[in-house]
């Protein structure tokens, strides 16, 4: 009996160690590909760099750094739509990374992709990213809970409790509205084709509503065969070929 338990434990330990070893090997392999991709980028071989970075994302998922480097590679190779797409994805992971945000803004500005401007209350709602609103919500909620627990143990003036609670509730409401507004635009699709057009019907021979610039964001509402009905940032509506756009947070998670 004791011998069999010992055998099982040894086998489990070996399996565990093998698992760790495989994970370490996999991480090392990813790092090697990443370095190769960076080397290719430095040498101006953006095509190879893109292939290597994509190999990493298909194997290990998405990291802000890999997506950012991928965005840089696409930008350098002149594929504005794909560059914007990958910068946008990187921003979803690391919204406060100044390099990512800076490159995205620079690319948009230099490509004539002017960012939509908000006025009045909308400006406040869109002043923070979705993650920032959500973190603000969480922090204020936790602080409010801690404050009330503290007020149970130590007497605090009723007026102070009311004012503090009201202030926190106000911030919670604002962050909820801000988060909701941001979430509505959390997953746009980016135009990745340089000859994309909005059509009035989901057919190839349909009349064109107008050209839509590569790199612009559109918000899909419904699909029909190979076309998606979208609304662009200037509230133009129309059908666009599925192949011309790609969602920032695509269902496959790739």
């Amino acid at each position: 009996m004791k011998t069999s338990i010992a055998t099982i434990l040894i086998a489990a330990t070996i399996l565990l160690l093998q698992g760790f070893s495989l994970a370490a090997q996999s991480e090392q392999a990813i790092n090697t590909i990443f370095e190769e991709a960076n080397m290719a980028f430095s040498e101006g071989d953006y095509k190879t760099a893109i292939e290597k970075y994509q190999e990493i994302t298909s194997q290990s998922g998405q990291s802000a750094a890999v997506l950012y480097n991928l965005g840089n590679s696409y930008a350098q190779s002149g594929q504005i739509g794909m560059a914007v797409l990958h910068y946008e994805r990187a921003v979803r992971i690391a919204p406060s990374d100044s390099n990512i945000v800076g490159n995205l803004q620079l690319l948009k500005k230099e490509s004539g992709l002017f960012v939509n401007e908000y006025e009045g209350f909308e400006r406040i709602l869109f002043s923070l990213s979705l993650s920032q609103w959500l973190i603000l919500f969480l922090v204020v909620l936790a602080v409010l809970a801690c404050f009330h627990i503290f007020s149970l143990l130590h007497p605090i003036r009723k007026k102070t409790i009311i004012v503090f609670t009201a202030f926190c509730c106000l911030i919670l409401c604002l962050s909820s509205i801000g988060g909701y507004s941001r979430y509505q635009k959390f997953n746009p699709a980016i135009v990745i084709s340089s000859d994309a057009r909005l059509l009035i019907s989901p057919f190839e021979t349909s009349t064109s509503v107008g050209i839509i610039q590569e790199g612009r964001s559109v918000y899909p509402s419904k699909t029909h065969k190979n076309y998606t009905h979208v609304v662009d940032e200037t509230n133009r509506k129309g059908w666009i070929a599925n192949s011309a756009i790609e969602a920032v947070c695509n269902p496959a998670g790739k």
Partner: protein
């Protein structure tokens, strides 16, 4: 061999010479003192020269102390002359004589000690005159004296308008006779006028003013009025005047260089002020003032370009507006694009190109505009308004409308046409973009953590957990608080609970007494229970409650009266009650007291 010994011979000769020459010269040593001016006005200085002929070292001069007179050493110089084969040497000490008050002064004979022998100079008399009666000038004497040392000159200004940039020149004059250090930048003093940060690199030159040579530092700056009216202003500048320090003893090396090097100067901070000037700021005329006038004052030109000019509906046009000229560019703003529902406009970006040398400055604005109406055929003309201070009127520069060609035609859906357009519009953009990509931030060298999905943070487990815990804590806390508040607001509930608990315990004691058959104890417990319950109910001390109180406050038919009577009687004498009666009392007492609760 002989050549090798030559340096030794030279050294020997010099050594001998140094011993023999002073001895030979000692007999001819003379000491003289003289003043450059025997009469000079207060505020000016005279130069005292002490000449020691026949000696060039080991000279110690003992300067006298004279009231209201200060002597500043200006160093020493030595001289050796060979004339017709005979050699003579002399040592000259210079001092500046400065008086703090006018009057007649005497410099007594100055003792000069040379190699242990003392020599004296002759007495020197001099007069210090008053600097004269004060004139109508606003400057006092010390200021007048300071003007000879250093002064500031500002170019005069005329009449100007608020916000107008008025170029000025600030010149700082420093008398070449003096040494200065730590010269600061000129500082503006005055309300209602602003000046930009003055550059720290002035132009340097020299100039002669009133027969005095000055070093001149020149700064070019500007003034801008912010308040209407006559604004008085002046500039000041701080500097340190290096005054030669009065030395009583010679430096150990007996050389002017070391005398100066080893603490020769004293720093005296001075503040140099310019004359007060009046900067007149006139109000801008209200007549013909354009509505969208932003305060730009100067002389400007205005140009507008746009690209692309052949495009589709929805495609952005970049409008580039250039304002060129001289004036207050900080007030120059992008001309308003005419409000029109056919256009969507974005906030313009601006870029300022400062002047190089004397050329004009430029400000560029870039604005994205998008056509919303397919009927649009041209970009409307834009207007830029400014005020010209020379012409003293508002000027409006108007750009020409820019024709545009819309490619989008509703009835032409063919694909080949689309592709043809794409070739035209996208290729130049790509080429330009590759050139500009140098501005991108560099790639990252660490992979960082990987994520399988791009999901918002509120879908993550830790976020949900913290939210749930916080909300639950909040609800629990609020519930506890509410309960506490309810108790605080209704103390009778708690009291009733306490009375109920007390009654329960008392009734258990009474039942135990009844069960044990201890009638006296039973009745005593009944009495105590009745008193304690009624004491709590009436808010009085239980032991103070008597039969009379019960009679007064309870109904006359209350069974408690009978029980209390029996209990009182038992306390003072033997009372015999049966077991059945005891059981009946227990039930009655419990019921009656519970009813009271």
């Amino acid at each position: 061999m002989q050549l090798r010994l030559l340096p030794i011979f030279i050294l020997l000769a010099l050594s001998l010479g140094s011993h023999f020459f002073p001895a030979t010269l000692r007999a001819d040593i003379t000491v003289n003192a003289s003043l450059s001016h025997t009469s000079f006005p207060e505020g000016r200085m005279s130069q005292l020269t002490i000449t020691v002929n026949g000696a060039s070292r080991n000279v110690d001069i003992s300067l006298p102390q004279i009231d209201n007179i200060s002597l500043h050493s200006r160093g020493q110089s030595s001289q050796i002359n060979f004339i017709n084969g005979s050699m003579s040497s002399s040592l000259i000490h210079n001092y500046l004589v400065q008086a703090t008050q006018p009057g007649s002064y005497t410099i007594p004979p100055i003792t000069v000690t040379i190699s242990g022998d003392e020599y004296t100079t002759k007495q020197l008399d001099f007069d210090v005159t008053s600097s004269g009666p004060k004139n109508n000038s606003t400057k006092n004497d010390s200021e007048a004296r300071l003007d000879e040392v250093a002064f500031l000159k500002i170019t005069t200004t005329g009449e100007h308008y608020p916000g107008e940039i008025v170029p000025i020149t600030i010149q700082a004059y420093f008398n070449q006779k003096y040494r200065f250090d730590e010269i600061s930048l000129p500082t503006l003093h005055g309300d209602g006028v602003t000046s930009p940060q003055i550059s720290g690199n002035p132009d340097k030159g020299e100039e002669v003013v009133d027969n005095r040579s000055y070093h001149v530092l020149t700064w070019n700056s500007s003034l801008s009025g912010v308040k209407v009216g006559k604004q008085s202003l002046r500039f000041t500048l701080e500097a340190a005047l290096l005054i030669p320090q009065q030395r009583r003893r010679q430096s150990p090396f007996d050389d002017p260089f070391f005398s100066n090097f080893l603490g020769g100067y004293q720093r005296k901070p001075i503040s140099v002020e310019s004359d007060e000037i009046v900067f007149s700021v006139l109000p801008l005329p209200a007549e013909n003032k354009p509505d969208n006038f932003t305060g730009a004052i100067g002389d400007f030109t205005f140009e507008v370009t746009a690209s692309p000019l052949s495009l589709d509906v929805g495609e952005p046009i970049t409008l580039r507006m250039t304002i060129h000229g001289k004036g207050n560019f900080d007030r120059v703003e992008a001309p308003d694009f005419p409000e029109n529902s056919a256009w969507k406009t974005y906030t313009p970006t601006s870029e300022f190109s400062p002047a190089t040398d004397s050329s004009s400055e430029s400000k560029f604005f870039e604005q994205a505009i998008v056509i919303k109406d397919p009927a649009i055929r041209e970009i409307p003309s834009l207007r830029f308004n400014y005020f010209d201070p020379k012409q003293k009127k508002y000027i409006t520069r108007t750009s020409d409308p820019i024709p545009i060609k819309l490619n989008q035609t509703i009835a032409q859906p063919s694909t080949p046409q689309i592709k043809a357009k794409v070739v035209i519009t996208t290729n130049p953009v790509k080429q330009e973009r590759i050139q500009r990509s140098e501005n991108l931030a560099p790639i990252q060298l660490e992979t960082g953590s990987f994520h399988q999905t791009l999901e918002p943070v509120f879908k993550k487990g830790w976020y949900i957990l913290i939210c749930v815990v916080s909300i639950l804590s909040l609800f629990v806390t609020l519930f506890i608080k509410k309960t506490r508040l309810h108790k605080a607001n209704h103390p009778e509930i708690e009291q009733a609970r306490y009375r109920k608990q007390l009654l329960k315990e008392d009734m258990q004691t009474i039942s135990q007494a009844a069960a044990s058959g201890n009638r006296t104890q039973f009745l005593s417990d009944c009495r105590k229970t009745t008193q304690s319950q009624l004491g709590l109910l009436w808010g009085v001390e239980p032991t103070a409650i008597s039969y009379t109180d019960l009679c007064n406050r309870l109904p006359s038919e209350s069974p408690l009266l009978d029980i209390f009577t029996q209990a009182e009687a038992a306390a003072y004498g033997a009372v015999v009650i049966s077991d059945e009666q005891m059981q009946a009392y227990v039930t009655t007492l419990s019921t009656e007291l519970e009813n009271l609760i």
